[in-house]
Symmetry: C2
Subunit: 132 residues, 2 copies
DNA sequence: CTATGTGCAAACTATTTGCCGTCTG
DNA sequence: CAGACGGCAAATAGTTTGCACATAG
């Protein structure tokens, strides 16, 4: 078992993610953390976001062809809406997931650790514009 | 509007996917289609799988850090279980998704087109082995 | 015939890794 | 003061694209 150390890089990255209160990509975090730690490297941001995820502090949201998002773990269960036009991600609180997830895991004899619910389409604003 | 042509590459790729009756990666399809069309290119496989998806013939399943899977569209709604140990993907038929999806779309004023439900964890076999 | 589709090779993007010096505990 | 961590640059993997020729309709 590796004994982890709390570096200022780690602290800064986590604080940024917590303050934003939404999902951010590694690159977005990098853009902000550079203000306080001038020569921090993107690799460090990736490494720490991954560590936090492994330790259950963060969740990852992934849409094919897009950079991964990270967010501080907050709701017991929530899903996401991804607008394929403006490329924005939106949260959806949805409690029924927990039950569905638990039932599926029991039925399928699967030890679930994370679960993801994602709807891809057009958000109100983009659909209003009648985009293809 | 582009008028599409039905080439033998397209036909072969679709047939393979339909015959398998599960999700396959582009590379897996490539491995098989090469038997019948010796000098087919992986790029062609990617191009055609994408086209089929756009035309509603296929669905895509993706998990961060893994190659994308494609499958012929079959159930009205189903989700997936991904085992992080053996890296296998399993289908879950789950009808309640439709309702949840419809309700969310109405509540959030979102024009949904595709939706994905994914549980990541350990499958029966790998959990039995008490893997970390 | 003509413009869509293909094969090839090169490009691309997000992410990961190796190396080696730095700094936490 | 050992070994976890960080910075840098190079590597990686999956996928996409540009180009010139092939071919479906």
């Amino acid at each position: 078992m590796v004994r982890r150390r709390l570096t200022r890089q780690k602290r800064a990255i986590f604080e940024i993610l917590k303050k934003t209160n939404t999902h951010m990509t590694a690159d977005e975090v990098f853009g902000i953390v550079k203000n306080s730690i001038k020569n921090i490297s993107l690799a460090t941001v990736y490494r720490n976001l991954e560590l936090m995820t492994e330790n259950g502090l963060c969740d990852e949201v992934y849409v094919a062809g897009r950079p991964k998002w990270f967010e501080v773990k907050k709701y017991a269960s929530h899903g996401h809406l991804f607008c394929r036009k403006c490329l924005k991600l939106e949260d959806v609180i949805e409690c029924s997931f927990c039950f569905t997830k638990n039932r599926i895991e029991k039925e399928m004899n699967f030890k679930g650790e994370e679960f993801k619910f994602l709807i891809i389409g057009l958000c109100k604003r983009c659909y209003g514009k009648r985009v293809t």
